[in-house]
Symmetry: C2
Subunit: 347 residues, 2 copies
């Protein structure tokens, strides 16, 4: 088979060679529709630009680093997969780094020590804030994900409106007529053992509190469970504690899906069921919650949009240094499943 | 605080400076006990060798690449985390690459195109075999994980005895008195859409078949369900198909935990329960199965041993090129939980 040239792609897509070149090289301003036509032509013809030569010419490696706290958190694994997918479509290779949420790891990767030759970094920091990162020694572009960033980020930033998402979760429970709505996932006082994403917990607690007020429900501190980490075991422990209260809750808002899945497990250990005894909702929409018994009601952030937005911001930043940093909030939606809506009579 | 020197570590560990140096630099032959003593002293004193200088001196980057098919498979995410943990203890940074099980990605990473400067590669290939990798163009050491390797690997190789593990799973179901034991996870005929780990499926099917024979149970092809991928949705679909048979199974061996979790979900959709109606067992021991309702009986491979063995083989290989390639089989154990043993009366 003859080598596919830029011109072949241009002909199939019905655009100029220059436009194809811009799309392939991530340059210029292209309408989404044109980009789609070119990408379809590239895929159909199996066009492969000479990547190594292109990168050399541009002084780039074609690789970006993605640094996330924990890949055994399904939420982060799903974000990582979306980032790999989005980057692959642009013929960019992603190398992933698991920081464990430790300051030293986050600093090493953001300073470029652990990522020589990377064209850029997408990081979800837990230990460091944007302010801590301001004086990083690496010049490669940086895009931040999540809440642990601070208000005055010198770097582009992609997040969800966590207060609003938490309020929506709590309001859903109130709309079912639940009156004793507990929360699992508040932060412990800061300490060496406290691996919790602090800002996430704070923002979600604020949203919970606001939604209680809006529903005319009292704030009851005994219904707010702190946790050490956002893991299944922490959710189970917190639910056990709530069920041992003199007056247990009739609904629980968990600050992520893993906590909620642990809470569902604890209910079963007590011979109780969701939603009949206690309705349960989480945040993240990890695949596990679609298959759990009962399936898990959740707030689903648009993970694909998070990944694609972060990558777009990184590439903009790469081609135009000094680009004004931006914070972009992605959408989320309430996904109602059995853990709050019931099964219609199945066990 | 004064800078901690090699000598301080040697004094605390009660060994020579040379021994500490060998441990820290991954050289020489060290007994596990001595290594442990030195590593404890390193950790206690907070000794940090000048890593950049050390790597430069040795012509190494201190980074290794780990290439896995899918990070949204909890099994691979857990293996990745164990590898990161094991490498961190040796002050080695892990960069992860998600291949999607695609030949092109696997070739790019094994040829070093996507991993310049890496000191070595640990890969779980799906598309390529060891024979395909024999002529890779990168000189960095390579260690292979899993079954898709072939018998005559020129590279060190870490795996579980999949036939024996599958036979153990099936024998467990037979030991409970189950007589119609189905299997979910056999491979479809090869094709472009077939993303299944072929060898894994074949070996596990062989083990299942052997255990049926050993238990004096007939081989019934209608009880063997093929799947496209080892995902929850495939397990649910296969269980729906089994339950629509004129004579449904009373037990199911699923070739991994995700399939089993999908199968449990399908049982619930039919108003059935495990183990009363159908006993269910998986393989992998992912954390999700410890918290599912019912909790999942499984075959647990020693994931920590897989990670530590792979890393040790890589480092041996690094320090002694031409080291005879070895295949190391790691242990596994049967972990009995509610999906086969019941709950003692809870719902």
């Amino acid at each position: 088979m003859a080598r596919i040239r830029l011109q072949d792609v241009a002909e199939r897509a019905g655009v100029s060679i220059k436009t194809v070149s811009n799309v392939v090289n991530g340059k210029g301003s292209i309408t989404p529709e044109t980009r789609l036509r070119v990408e379809e032509a590239v895929a159909h013809l199996g066009y492969r630009p000479n990547i190594a030569a292109r990168h050399l010419r541009r002084g780039q490696s074609g690789m970006i680093a993605v640094a996330l706290p924990e890949l055994t958190q399904p939420y982060f694994a799903e974000i990582a997969s979306e980032l790999v997918r989005a980057a692959q479509a642009k013929q960019i290779t992603v190398l992933l780094n698991q920081t464990g949420g430790e300051a030293e790891s986050e600093r090493a990767i953001s300073d470029g020590i652990d990522m020589p030759l990377m064209d850029g970094l997408i990081m979800s920091p837990l230990a460091l804030t944007a302010a801590d990162l301001r004086h990083r020694t690496d010049a490669a572009p940086l895009v931040l994900l999540g809440e642990h960033v601070g208000d005055d980020s010198p770097f582009p930033h992609v997040a969800m409106d966590n207060r609003a998402a938490a309020a929506a979760a709590t309001a859903h429970l109130a709309s079912l007529g639940r009156r004793r709505i507990a929360a699992i996932g508040a932060k412990l006082p800061a300490g060496p053992d406290n691996a919790l994403p602090q800002e996430t917990a704070e923002l979600r607690l604020e949203g919970y509190r606001r939604a209680l007020e809006d529903a005319g429900l009292p704030w009851d501190p005994t219904l707010v469970q702190t946790v050490r980490e956002f893991h299944r075991a922490d959710g189970a422990d917190a639910m056990h504690a709530l069920l041992s209260l003199p007056e247990p809750p009739d609904a629980v808002f968990c600050f992520n899906d893993l906590l909620a899945l642990g809470a569902l497990r604890a209910l079963r250990d007590h011979g109780l069921q969701a939603p009949d005894d206690v309705a349960v909702i989480g945040i993240d929409d990890i695949e596990e919650g679609r298959f759990s018994s009962p399936s898990l009601t959740t707030i689903a952030p648009d993970k694909r949009a998070i990944a694609e937005t972060a990558l777009t911001l990184l590439l903009e930043n790469r081609s135009e240094p000094g680009h004004e940093p931006r914070t972009i909030l992605v959408d989320y939606e309430l996904v109602v499943r059995e853990s709050t809506a019931g099964t219609g009579g199945l066990p």
